[in-house]
């Protein structure tokens, strides 16, 4: 029996325009379509594969405003068993450290966790550090940025892929994993899955329920804050020419003019 927790996050769709709000520079969550971050679907898929290979239970955890429910439902309709949704006004504007602490507390609510699976990096914040921070807080081995993994008995083996190449990793359970885009192709929820998801238990918790101090989270308590933010002036189109058999030479001339070549 492998007890797996998957972390999911609702993010603004990368295909829509994303903005920071004018007053406090937090993410303007209303400005963009929200979706279950693509990488999370892969994290859910990997958890389901491990569960299906033996026995297990998959719990989805999401920290975010009420509309994170959609991301949770998607994960449940793929086949996860239950969910914990941490939603609290006090969390607004929390930094990565506070987010990791809240996630650690939420993971603590699930008994006997063998494996925590997350996406390697959310497409909005791109901090790419929350899984590692969570491993630090939970005191478990960190197998992050992995493109393949196997669990056998109490041992987990994984291939980590970064710009430096492949690193083969091995650790004992319990452990934390973050997966990259290459890990798998996530399944589509079936109609049956979508219907079943509506009946699956979703526990909604506040940070008080988790025993996290409100003074440790939120924008006002962040250890790093944005002091200025401005949309960059949009790039403007420069010169454009039609290729009349000399397009390549014209680029070369331009690059020479710019002292690039």
């Amino acid at each position: 029996m492998t007890n797996i927790v998957v972390l999911v996050k609702q993010v603004p769709d990368t295909y829509s325009e994303r903005k920071l709000s004018d007053d406090d520079y937090t993410l303007d969550r209303e400005s963009a379509d929200a979706v279950l971050d693509e990488i999370n679907e892969k994290a859910v898929e990997e958890a389901l594969k491990i569960k299906e290979a033996g026995e297990g239970e998959v719990t989805v955890i999401s920290v975010g405003p009420d509309r994170a429910t959609d991301a949770i439902r998607k994960a449940l309709s793929m086949g996860a068993d239950k969910a914990i949704h941490v939603s609290d006004e006090a969390l607004r504007g929390s930094d990565a450290v506070a987010t990791a602490k809240v996630l650690a507390a939420a993971v603590g609510k699930v008994e006997g966790v063998d494996l925590v699976i997350a996406g390697n990096e959310a497409s909005d914040g791109r901090a790419g550090a929350v899984p590692a921070m969570l491993a630090e807080l939970l005191g478990v081995p960190q197998l992050t940025q992995v493109r393949s993994l196997t669990v056998e008995g109490g041992t987990i083996k994984a291939d980590r892929e970064t710009d430096d190449g492949l690193t083969h990793l091995e650790a004992s359970l319990p452990a934390l994993v973050s997966v990259t885009e290459k890990i798998n192709e996530p399944r589509y929820p079936s109609f049956k899955g979508i219907m079943a998801a509506k009946k699956k238990p979703v526990e909604t918790l506040t940070i008080g329920d988790l025993g996290v101090d409100a003074g440790a989270v939120g924008l006002g308590n962040a250890l790093s804050t944005v002091v200025e933010a401005a949309p960059k002036p949009p790039r403007t189109a420069g010169e454009r020419v039609e290729d009349e058999g000399d397009g390549g030479s014209k680029i070369a001339e331009y690059l020479v003019g710019q002292k690039i070549i």
């Binding site: 690193t167 790093s224 944005v226 933010a229 790039r235 420069g238 390549g248």
Partner: protein
């Protein structure tokens, strides 16, 4: 002057260029101390180079375990030095590993994490560029700033440093809390520069049409000494391997010159390259959105334009 810890980025016994960028950024805040974590015998050959980019001290944290466990030995070394040296800041490279090291360090020592900085200012504020360059953001950390610096964002500049060696004893690794490295397979990238570190990037998109025809992109890249990139459409169509993908779900690059061949320029792609200093685009479609952000655009067939440009570049070099 206050000490600033800089984690040395190295691979296969070689220093990475990003180390010099981090040392340069650190000099805005104080006197850089390079921290080398690795197998015994790693730091010795780095010392001189670290000194030439201003490292006043070189902390040497070497052990067999340091090379055999993922991320945690580096966190151990930095945490110990934070306690010992009370630095003004800690700077790492914003690589996959660097971000993880900085995140764990922030949890352990309680510092303020600022990630993926594109600039570090002497007043302690840090410049960031978010949402694929759509926003410029200035951040400040409370407490000890732990900053990761985006590769290629800071121009490395030499400065004199004493590079005085000091050894650091690493705590024993708790195997129940760490992942053991059982093997490594370095990237066989050939002679081309690494995508995120390259000064010039030449990318191909759906318009290239096939994996075989990507040769036209590679040839131009090689004439310019550039890295090769690909759009998501090209990767999804199987024209080029995923590790070369530039865009929101791939790499973010900000080279001096970005050449887009047969790339339409969807938001997805622009998010990964629009902070490039100069953008040149070639596309058959005059309506392609890439032209809206290109400094120089050619409406035409990339199979005519790119080879001609390759020849021109080669001619000028000889």
């Amino acid at each position: 002057m206050a000490e600033v810890l800089v984690l040395v980025d190295h691979l296969n016994g070689e220093l990475k260029k990003t180390t010099f960028e981090a040392l340069t950024a650190a000099r805005e805040l104080g006197e850089p101390s390079a921290v080398v974590v690795g197998a015994p015998g790693t730091a010795g050959k780095f010392k001189e180079q670290l000194g030439s980019y201003g490292a006043a001290k070189v902390y040497v944290a070497e052990s067999e375990d340091a090379a055999n466990y993922l991320v945690t030995p580096k966190v151990d070394a930095l945490a110990k030095l934070v306690e010992q040296a009370s630095p003004a800041a800690v700077i790492v490279t914003a690589s996959a590993e660097g971000k993880e090291v900085s995140g764990r360090l922030a949890i352990r020592v309680g510092g303020g994490l600022v990630y993926d900085a594109v600039g570090v200012n002497s007043d302690g504020t840090v410049e960031q560029s978010v949402f694929g360059g759509a926003y410029s953001v200035k951040s400040k950390a409370k407490g000890l700033p732990i900053i990761s610096v985006r590769p290629g964002a800071v121009e490395a500049a030499q400065a004199e440093g004493a590079a005085a060696e000091e050894s650091v004893e690493l705590p024993a690794v708790d195997a129940a809390k760490a992942a053991k490295i059982t093997g490594v397979e370095p990237v066989v990238g050939g002679d081309r520069p690494e995508l995120t570190e390259a000064t010039i990037v030449v990318s191909g998109g759906r318009g290239v049409g096939s994996a075989e025809k990507f040769e036209v992109v590679e040839k131009l890249a090689d004439s310019l000494g550039a890295a090769v990139g690909a759009s998501r459409a090209a990767v999804d169509s199987g024209y080029y391997p995923a590790q070369f993908q530039v865009g929101q779900t791939g790499k973010t690059v900000s080279p001096q010159l970005y050449v887009a061949l047969g790339i339409s320029g969807a938001i997805q792609h622009r998010a990964g390259m629009q902070t490039s200093k100069t953008i040149v685009a070639v596309n058959k479609d005059p309506e392609a959105p890439i032209f809206e952000i290109a400094d120089f655009g050619v409406v035409g067939d990339l199979f005519n334009v790119a080879p001609q440009l390759t020849d021109e570049v080669t001619k000028r070099k000889s």
